[in-house]
Symmetry: D2
């Protein structure tokens, strides 16, 4: 197999990011299977036609059912709003298509498990869009842990801090409506932190959470897209039905202690997706706003020069970095998507499941729901009980 | 009153810090009441005699009971190990002495309440050693909040991260023994975070915590002092009876969400005492390792130049800063003690209680115990129920 | 005009960067003139054919003379080694092609002036590849200065620090040979600093410099490409004929004082392209390794909150930023090229010369040579005397 | 010898800093010779009497000639304005007193050489007040260089950036008058950089400089003290006769390239005294505003974790640090003076000259004048020619 035909459902923020990721792949990773940007799909015919032209897709359609049944499509990429993931993914799996699905997999653990079952039953490859795993600096953290260079892990703490909801006039976008988005900061931002914890530390044993919706009514929007409110807003208001912020503590299976916080009310933080890990032999600190950097500390450094190193993960020694620019030249947010697609292509080549796949999507959903249950019942919840 | 005679009980790490704080006061704050370093007291006669000479005390004694009964002593400063605070404080209060007591006030909420009652009953001034309040950068954060420049507070998160226990060969110092220290990271480090939260945000409504002792047996020490292990260590080991790390989440009375972490296992952090506050109009970030700085963000900055400012709190505009060196010249850890003593002298001058006093000490102890109870019972605890 | 046919000469580091810049343009700036990636040209037929496929060019050729004479080509993009710029640019101008030429324009001031004359004589649009101007954070600095928000400028200091030559075994690549590269750190890195100074501060009146070649002999390479040494290296060595490091001081026409340093021996700096500007009302600091950030200081901030702000130039308020990702999501090195090409397209649309054009290229070359002369003659040189 | 009697001439900014340095010495370095704060001297009797009380000196006088002739004085500390240094120092040397003199030694190289001759002729110990050498982080840089851990040094660059003169209404303080201060930013701030270069890198072979007085007339002050303008200011103005900013380039005897900048017009910098050194095996970066930190880079770190380390120089492994507080607890500006005095006491104990002594003061003055000459003659000046 030298190339693969993609059909993509969704054309807004994530649709643009995925399109760009596919476009860059053959240029920077020319030895990998090439993704052909075949068909883009969206409900609004005019808008999806414009997106096809702008993003470089050969065709466009507003009928996803037709799309998933086409013989010339090998992979269905789903980045429509979260409440549409399940139906499309299962239909695509049943039609024998490989699957790339944005996170969160679905609005519930039950739904995400059905998606995993469908994908496994169909024997297709499946992947979930936890793109932050693919920043070279994050992959360096992973390597240091896997190689034992941080020793036994004692602490994991992580934050995903944004501030776009601090303004009470920000309208009631779809991400603030439970029936479409599932949850708020928790599912949107916290999901990334949970996946990062799974990736770097391992299974979470039990959790207890806390959440808040600071502003409970917001003006209704005329139209919304992704993170931004477009157009004017009506004088009417509606209830915010998701969390503005969710925090939780966790105990990992390996004994490490975890603390997590996702909020859209952290004034001054546009998108601080950050974590710190402390082990018996060393520590790492990552902040996505400086995504090319990893702070690294080792206890066995000489006594007089111990300190966190600011490692720029742009050297040839760093994962994926050699494919881009010379050392010291930053890459950006969008490159994480290209790396994720490279992983998918590698998995196809090697006939294995890509990682993270729907199993990781389900595991993330399980923790998300355990936290929600812990908030509702005000007590610790064992994750495996769900 | 132009001067005040001090009798101090304790002569190790805190004794040195307090002595230095008193010595600097008349030089840098010459218009304040002058503390006379009269008598220093400790159990080991030889050691306390040496400390008297080294630190500049007029006299020394090994009999604290005698000390508190002397007519020529106005203020008793208690920085002996935590389990000795109560008895000394109550005796001194009964003898009509003003009181400066290191944190934590006592090993239990009950004991600390008795100390407060004794002090109030005696009508003396009393203060508790939460010295970190007195860093000019922290006082700037306080001012910004009090003046409404951060708006409504949504988030408080705080960490006190140290790493001196990561080495399993570190001996079983007194700070690792429950009967002397009360608790471990929680009471030693977490207490500072809780007081900072009280100072900056206000009352804590309810809490839930988690803690761990990662290394459960350690070699017995030959001798210990403060944070450092001195001399060799025996081949015998003993059980660590305090926590290595304690985390908790909190809901403040004003609706803000709080997250706290105190640990001695954060490899690479010698003493990171840090907090961040997010309000509707702005945010602040503080890290004691860069104690002269406060990061400050305002939402009403112009659209194109929004960002956290690194404010060096060494300008004349900053509390206490004008008394020291020209703008841009850092001060250090020890200066927080001098500032605390200036507050005590100001309170005496103005005939009011200094802040923080034993009330703040009791409040801190109440939260410490609420967290401990929440850990034991694995559920949320209302702080006011204790 | 809706689109433009590009013929590009060069296919290595810069060829890849330019190709990627053209590819991204129509997707992120869909309202601009679209660049068609028509023909790529290089001396090695096999290598350029591979590049054509990898980078997405319709055709390839090894005959640049044929290329510049084709009727269906509107713009010639020159990123071949520096010694080839002049001949190609003049031939292309004579053929009526618009020109985009990498810096430095040529190996000498004389040559670059001839190139400018040819372009002006032919009446074509011309642009020079000072891509760092187009980082949104740099454009923010420009805006602050132009709007008077920094006041009168007193100081400009700039560094371009790399470390890839510290290893004495690094081979004698083409960038270390005067006859191909013209100069070393001075022309390669210093040229960017000089252009940045011209862009942000204005004309340079006089200069005095200093330079050094720390390692004077290096092993001959088997083959080299761009910044990296590929393959093995022979036992033979050859002389390094360019500077490893060049520093100079400058006085600007407006009275500001400048200091410049370009080096490939700054251990630990992969590519620190950094500047600081101090004005009577404020200051800015930029470092390309954190290219999404600008540090900004204003004297009229309130007394107690004065400090450098870390502005993330990813907000809609920042130039070009709105075309990419939501606020807080970093872009990378490559995006500066897309922005440069957008400027070219805007200039074509508005029938004006793009900026920076060959005039800026000549001005940069003039300062480069003035510095070289000042080093040779060990005295201050008036730039306008050249 | 167990103690030493000090007579100090000067009682303003530096007088306070020195007094505090002496006071702290016996408490934190109890095994060293103890400085007795015997007599403080100043022209204004009332002011010096107040200073004596405030700073803790036993006696005060307004007659320095009497002071230097007293039998009970062992060491004369001179921190009066720069134009008074020479006469006092020579008289004190002639009287057989040891000497501690603030920098710059004198207003001219000639004068400073006479001071050195007098001190050497008298056989006394002499030291000059380059206190910044004594920050533990700076001493760490020194150690790394001396131990060869940075390899051969290629680059030294240093800045001393302040901003207190940006306001044109700042009055014409003594530091702005050539006849009292000698020079402006150059002698006040640049002198520290030159000494740092001598300390860390070695001799400077030749130099070329540039300087500017941006604001040429300023209001006359009613009274001034140190860095701050006190009281009101008259409507009359007078000419500023010193430099606001001076830059220079230097070539070191060992082949390293140097760049220096001292300015009082770097808006946003209260007191950024910073340097960077690049060697063949590593680099260091220091900034006095974060004086407890040294950034350290080593080329032989593993390929995937290369980066500057933020070393907190507060560990027991760091010079002088163990005498103060536990690891991670910052010290401040004032501690550098105590360390300098410890060096003096150590030199007395070991019967050797302290370092830096008047030789270093003369060497610094030589470079200062070479730079001034290079500015006047607009050409490179060989330092040894002066």
């Amino acid at each position: 197999m030298n190339s693969l035909n993609i059909g993509m459902v969704g054309y807004k923020f994530m649709g643009k990011a995925h399109s760009n990721g596919y476009r860059a792949l053959p240029m920077f990773f020319p030895d990998r299977i090439k993704p052909n940007m075949k068909v883009i799909c969206g409900r609004n015919t005019g808008a999806v036609a414009a997106a096809a032209t702008q993003f470089g897709w050969e065709e466009h359609t507003s009928d996803w059912k037709d799309l998933v049944s086409r013989d010339d499509i090998d992979l269905i990429d789903i980045n429509a709003p979260s409440n549409a993931h399940k139906e499309i993914a299962i239909a695509a799996a049943d039609a024998g298509k490989h699957l790339y699905c944005e996170k969160p997999l679905a609005l519930s653990l039950k739904d995400s498990r059905e998606m995993l079952e469908a994908a496994e039953g169909a024997g297709v490859k499946h992947m979930v869009g936890f793109n932050y795993r693919f920043a070279p600096a994050v992959l360096l953290a992973k390597k240091l842990i896997d190689d034992g260079r941080l020793g036994d892990i004692h602490h994991f703490r992580a934050w995903f801090l944004q501030d776009w909801l601090v303004d009470p006039d920000f309208p009631l976008a779809w991400r603030l409506q439970k029936e479409i988005a599932g949850s708020g900061a928790h599912g949107d931002l916290g999901a990334h932190l949970i996946d990062m914890a799974h990736f770097l530390i391992g299974d979470i044993a039990d959790v207890i959470g806390m959440s808040e919706t600071f502003i409970k009514e917001r003006p209704l929007p005329d139209e919304t897209a992704g993170l931004s409110a477009t157009g004017g807003q009506s004088a009417q208001t509606g209830p915010v039905t998701v969390d503005d912020a969710t925090l939780f503590m966790a105990r990992f299976a390996n004994g490490a202690l975890g603390s997590f916080e996702a909020t859209r009310f952290a004034t001054g933080h546009r998108s601080t997706n950050s974590f710190e890990i402390n082990g018996s032999k060393g520590s790492v600190i990552f902040d996505f706003e400086r995504m090319n950097e990893l702070q690294v500390y080792f206890t066995d450094d000489q006594d007089d020069v111990q300190g966190f190193r600011r490692v720029l993960a742009t050297d040839p020694a760093h994962a994926y970095a050699g494919a881009w620019w010379p050392a010291g030249h930053p890459i950006g947010y969008e490159h994480t998507f290209t790396h994720a697609f490279v992983e998918f292509m590698d998995a196809l080549q090697e006939d294995r499941q890509p990682v993270p796949n729907f199993n990781e999507g389900v595991k993330c959903q399980q923790v998300l729901e355990a936290v929600e249950l812990s908030i509702k019942e005000r007590k610790w919840i064992e994750v495996s009980s769900l």
